[in-house]
């Protein structure tokens, strides 16, 4: 599972630099602290959703309904808060419960009735969109009444103060260093291949630099935005889930060879339903963040987000046939997608062209995946 620094990783890094360079030249404010901060929120939203998507792509499924789901969840919470005066936390609870239930149901239909996930979630896409528009009455429903702040609106407007931000960055880096060194030490003890000392140090050094630079830039605006912390928590949770639990192990096994996994005693149905269930929860979190970011629930919230999530997964090295993919790759893929979309918005690219670029990127990523997995 541990790979060397590959051509693929390298080309990802290069394309990210190319995207940043292009937009920085085309629009100098692209690299401003304010825009970097916005970009980081957008990264958090796309990344969180893509991490959920990873869970169902790993066992060889797909979910086209997450975009609509994002809209629906945000809509439900907004209506409860704005129209009915519920406290945000209670509204969150209902919204999350609805999403988990809906996704569990879809998962059950997919594995128990053996309907391809493509079809079930395509149905879900339409049903959730319709339900969403019904819920908000096809109007605009703000996340907080009359310019007030509540938990809902704070979701994307809260920034950790600079000192706390530095501490957060340091904590993340410490965890990173600790887990890298521990895993290296363990692998060495078991006689597995490891990067040599210099390379390990170099990687940690660069990671530290990048983290410090990010915190520095974000602090120039308002500090680390809350969504970024949510992304970090979700990423850590999904990483542990996929790499350190039997559930995750079995997700990879099902994607690699479902029949062999079944014969090996993997409860295939339960695991896949579980993956959809967790995805439901993540869709809810994403829906709340995305709606809060827009400030209100409107009919277009969540449009095409399923495609961004799938593209982020595939760009990050997740195989659509299942069995391959990692958290760090997906976050990288999400960073590329978010950088691209943010840049286009900044340049005021027309929505028509935006659609075309999105489609082209998705196609290119899948084509690369097909090419690379053929070897």
């Amino acid at each position: 599972m541990k790979k060397q620094f590959s051509l693929r990783d390298f080309s990802l890094l290069l394309s990210l630099l190319a995207i940043w360079t292009f937009f920085a030249l085309a629009a100098p404010q692209y690299l401003s602290a304010r825009n970097i901060s916005m970009l980081s929120v957008e990264l958090a939203i796309t990344g969180t959703l893509a991490l959920g998507m990873l869970l169902v792509i790993l066992p060889g499924h797909i979910d086209l309904s997450v975009g609509s789901g994002v809209g629906l969840v945000g809509g439900i919470a907004s209506v409860l808060v704005f129209n009915h005066g519920w406290p945000a936390a209670a509204a969150f609870g209902i919204a999350i419960a609805v999403a988990v239930l809906a996704w569990t149901l879809m998962g059950a239909l997919i594995v128990r009735e053996r309907i391809p996930s493509f079809i079930i979630t395509l149905g879900g896409l339409l049903i959730f969109k319709g339900a969403f528009w019904l819920v908000i009455g096809s109007r605009t429903v703000p996340v907080a009444p009359g310019g007030q702040t509540n938990l809902y609106s704070l979701l994307t407007t809260y920034y950790f103060p600079p000192v706390t931000s530095w501490i957060l960055g340091a904590v993340v880096f410490t965890i990173w260093v600790f887990s890298t060194l521990r895993s290296r030490q363990r692998r060495q003890k078991l006689g597995f291949s490891v990067d040599d000392k210099e390379l390990t140090f170099l990687k940690l050094f660069i990671t530290g630099q990048a983290l410090a630079l990010a915190v520095l830039l974000l602090n120039q605006f308002r500090g680390i935005p809350l969504p970024l912390v949510i992304l970090a928590v979700v990423a850590l949770a999904i990483h542990i889930l996929t790499r350190h639990t039997p559930f995750g192990r079995q997700l990879y096994a099902i994607g690699g060879n479902e029949e062999a996994a079944f014969i090996s005693g993997v409860p295939v149905q339960r695991v896949v339903i579980g993956a959809f269930m967790v995805l439901g929860g993540i869709v809810a979190i994403t829906g709340l963040m995305q709606t809060a970011y827009a400030g209100a629930s409107t009919t277009t919230i969540g449009d095409q987000m399923e495609l961004d999530a799938i593209a982020a997964c595939v760009i990050g090295g997740t195989s659509l046939r299942g069995g391959r993919g990692s958290v760090i790759g997906v976050i990288f893929g999400a960073l590329i997608m978010a950088s691209l979309l943010n840049g286009m918005t900044l340049l005021a690219v027309s929505p028509e062209l935006k659609l075309i670029v999105r489609g082209a990127v998705l196609t290119l990523a899948v084509w690369m995946d097909v090419k690379l997995s053929k070897r």
């Binding site: 599972m1 597995f192 079995q250 690699g256 014969i263 409860p267």
Partner: protein, 509 residues
């Protein structure tokens, strides 16, 4: 020297292995030339070279066709030169008719449109040539394997092929179909079509071939005319050692009954006709129960059902010790102390793109926990133990199983089953497609398992293996038990008679 096809001093390397080492081979006009050798001897690689699947330039040495140097860069170039390969997995489209398949990519046309009349007349003529009495508008999926094979050959004739390469053509055929095929090949030989025939079945080889070339470990061992050799000689060349030591069964004292199956009747799914009827059997600790039968007798179905992976039980029960088992999934079977090594390693056994370690611990991962998380150290240590015990030949636990040889892949599947520490081990064709050395290791392992007091149910379609390794043998025929024999009672004749559903009748051979 006017060889039709000649390969001289061919060397083909794969990363880390020399698959063929200065192999020479020639095919004369109107000759049937058999290619023999163990799995991994290099037969398939040689075929792939001759048919353009390994393109010119990817190997050293030269090919000659009609004395002219031939360089195939692609499989279609070899086909254009008249070389056709009939593969083990047939390349026919099941949803199309026989006639459509015969001219696939080579359609009979009239002014750009399909000429159905000519398609059917030509198809009929071709089918007559291969002795198939079926209508050209039969769907291929409605044909048996043997008939499909004949359609493949007819397809090759339709393209004016001069050289047929048949790779294990009779593996899935009934005796009657085998005879039809052999007769056809003899007839084609008269018409000037030469043939390279690859088979493990020496009876066929000796009934058919003019010459035999034996490959071993990627090198040509010998090429002899059929008249100058005999089976024992060929086997000696193939194995390179005496084979008397092949079945080293150490009989251990059987203990208490471990598993009992009572009156089991099973259908593929609810509402269908049963394909296992009233099966009753038992196996004791330390005992090897052999299960034999012809293809389609229900051996694999029985194993898969016992393991909870297949079928709808109409009646009967499975009892372990004195406790009835109700499992309906492999997960439940594993929990009950059963383990299965499936017959189809690639399909049911392995996650081919994952590492050895991943595959080893897949069935036992729920027991290698610390809290809710996988205890990676415990996992690695357990994996390492099985890696060493089974003497897996691979660089490390992190090697992808897809890169291993068949024998080593089989060890991974077996290791995965053993790691669950089963009381009863179901081995379905455990030595299929692995070389003699690895087979021997599997046999040793069976001895070791029974010595530890585990019960083994061994399914095998090779009678020598079944007789050599079983303490008791049950033969299945059309989903029923057709006979039970002790090790001492069993003779090939008796077993075969039972398998064919006959009360002991004289066996023709």
């Amino acid at each position: 020297m006017s060889a039709l096809l000649q390969a001289s001093a061919i060397t083909k390397r794969f990363p880390g292995v020399v698959a063929l080492d200065r192999v020479s081979f020639d095919l004369q006009p109107s000759e049937i030339h058999a290619l023999c050798g163990e799995n991994g001897a290099g037969k398939s690689t040689l075929i792939k070279l001759l048919s353009g699947l390994h393109p010119a330039g990817s190997f050293e040495g030269e090919l000659f066709l009609d004395g002219q140097p031939a360089r195939f860069h692609h499989i279609t170039e070899a086909q254009r030169s008249g070389i056709a390969v009939i593969h083990q997995e047939l390349a026919l489209v099941g949803e199309l008719t026989v006639a459509e398949n015969l001219f696939l990519g080579n359609e009979r046309r009239h002014r750009g449109f399909l000429d159905w009349e000519k398609t059917w007349t030509d198809a009929r003529a071709l089918l007559a040539k291969v002795g198939l009495a079926i209508s050209p508008d039969t769907l291929v999926s409605d044909l048996g394997i043997g008939q499909q094979q004949l359609v493949e050959i007819a397809k090759a004739i339709a393209r004016d092929m001069r050289i047929l390469i048949l790779d294990e053509p009779t593996a899935a055929l009934s005796e009657h179909e085998v005879q039809t095929l052999l007769a056809l090949l003899r007839q084609l030989r008269i018409q000037g079509i030469a043939c390279i025939y690859i088979s493990h079945k020496l009876d066929e080889v000796f009934a058919l071939a003019d010459r035999i070339t034996v490959l071993r470990d990627g090198a040509t061992i010998t090429t002899v005319a059929i008249a100058d050799t005999d089976k024992a000689d060929i086997i000696r060349h193939m194995v390179g050692r005496e084979i008397s030591q092949l079945f080293p069964r150490h009989i251990s004292q059987p203990g208490a009954e471990t598993l009992r199956v009572k009156n089991l009747t099973v259908a593929p799914s609810p509402g269908e006709k049963p394909c296992l009827h009233d099966i009753s059997l038992h196996v004791r600790a330390g005992e090897v129960l052999g299960i034999g039968g012809l293809m389609g007798a229900g051996r694999t179905e029985l194993m898969m059902h016992l393991f909870g992976a297949w079928g709808h039980r109409i009646q009967g029960e499975i009892v372990k010790g004195d406790q009835p088992l109700f499992h309906r999934t492999p997960q439940g079977a594993l929990y009950a102390g059963l383990a299965l090594v499936s017959e189809d390693r690639k399909r049911y056994g392995l996650i081919i793109d994952e590492s050895i370690g991943f595959n080893f611990s897949l069935s036992s991962i729920g027991r290698l926990l610390r809290g809710l998380l996988i205890d990676q150290e415990a996992e690695a240590h357990t994996n390492q133990k099985y890696f060493d015990d089974l003497r897996v030949k691979a660089p490390s636990l992190e090697t992808t199983v897809g890169t291993l040889s068949g024998g080593n892949q089989q060890k991974i599947v077996i290791g995965k089953a053993l790691m669950t520490e089963p009381k009863v081990i179901l081995l379905d064709e455990p030595t299929r497609g692995i070389d003699v050395g690895a087979k021997l290791e599997v046999y040793e392992l069976i001895n070791q398992l029974t010595a530890e007091g585990r019960a083994v149910i061994l399914v095998s379609s090779e009678l020598p293996e079944l007789m050599g390794m079983s303490d008791r043998i049950i033969m299945l025929s059309e989903g029923r038990i057709a006979g039970e024999f002790t090790r001492e009672e069993a003779t090939p004749e008796k077993l075969l008679a039972a398998a064919m559903g006959q009360a002991l009748a004289p066996v023709t051979s």
